[in-house]
Symmetry: C2
Subunit: 241 residues, 2 copies
């Protein structure tokens, strides 16, 4: 069988142009959101994005994630107070000018967002012997992160913003939320409606860091070895068809 | 302003029904693939899915990922030989019956797939001071995992299968591919066309482990506390609108 025949015969499992565009739109129009509208998130909408998270891939199908929904304002105030402390502390780690700049950024919407969700990982999910996890233990946490990204993309498509708050200490978060010793907090997410989604990431817009080009991220065959061709030459606009 | 007025006035940033469906389809129809067709993956298609990965979220916009494309057959044979060794070793960790069963699963398509991609993480990307990474160092690797999930979903929408091979040791992989000490291999992916995508994950189908229900994964306000309502009651079918 020739290569041409193979190509003609292979089944087409691709999506329609519109559905494919939906996937690329979610990926390229997703933003890390820090400012939210006060409108409540309908439970059916929250159910759909959590269900997207629960359909993430996981090593050995261990599905190690849990989703802790936090709406109580007292709890959120405690978490925000901790984040504020860490934010001021972190500013001291930057050179002075960048530190001042950093303190001006709004970094989280813990109180503004109508709902917060903590995504956790249970390394003991379904027992000690999990297929594919004997060599790289961290694959359990990686699975939980895939759940986060599923949630984030589904939320974007639904018109919901998500902000990942990473300036916090897991032991303090665990204490506030009553989380057992063996459970790992992976992502503290603020979720809600937004006025608008920016065209590009804030830290790119303000010039904090540049966007890496596709060609900059690619090696071929061995580390440090660049491919003969420029992959970016194949892209038009946002990388969709 | 009443809640009703707020709801009426908030901007609608949601996708069209078809594009939203595309996102949910990618999430629910994505599978971990171990059997591939030999047809080559066009470079423009590989460019689009790598571009999707390069548009992942990252802590402080550090974009710590790189994509090492591996096609060379000698290299792949070395990697597969290592995986095979680890697979047999892992089987000994299961109780005897499950170990026998485990050995029957095809776990990777390193040689079958026309292209392999290693997604890595560079913790030193853009220097030591990265916004939001002072408290949880692992957020760099989490960012690289988000890139993996973007790639996986874009590939599914394009009709391309992806399999994540996690039964390998990073130090051996680094040795084979010439990867520097400080770079972390995050995901070794096999990519190619497939005959068909199964309706559900293989390990569910064969009864290795059950799928967790949405309600099983949700807590409210504090760890261990169940919400008053059943979120699954809001879902119809695959969780899409």
């Amino acid at each position: 069988m020739s290569a041409v025949e193979q190509t003609e015969q292979k089944p087409d499992n691709s999506f329609t142009a519109e559905r494919l565009q939906g996937v690329y739109d979610a990926i390229t129009k997703r933003r890390d959101i820090r400012s939210f509208l006060p409108d409540p998130v309908p439970k059916e909408l929250l159910a759909r994005v959590l269900n997207a998270a629960n359909n993430a891939p996981s090593v050995g199908f261990m599905q190690p994630w849990d989703f802790l929904i936090v709406e109580n304002m007292e709890t959120r105030k405690k978490i925000q107070a901790h984040v504020e402390q860490e934010r001021v502390h972190a500013a001291k780690g930057f050179e002075s000018q960048r530190g001042d700049w950093y303190l001006k950024f709004k970094l989280e919407g813990i109180i503004d967002a109508p709902v917060n969700v903590l995504v956790t990982c249970d390394p003991s999910s379904f027992g000690p012997s999990v297929i594919g996890r004997n060599t790289i233990k961290e694959t359990d946490v990686y699975s939980a992160v895939c759940a986060v990204q599923n949630l984030w993309l589904a939320a974007r498509a639904e018109g919901l913003g998500v902000g990942w708050v990473s300036i916090l200490k897991n032991n303090i978060l665990k204490d506030i939320l009553g989380i057992p010793e063996h459970i790992i907090p992976v992502a503290y997410l603020c979720i809600g409606y937004v006025d608008k989604f920016d065209d590009e990431p804030l830290l790119k817009t303000v010039g904090w860091l540049p966007k890496r080009s596709l060609d900059d991220t690619i090696y071929a065959e061995r580390w440090g070895q660049k491919p003969d061709l420029k992959y970016s030459g194949y892209l038009n606009g946002n990388g969709s068809k």
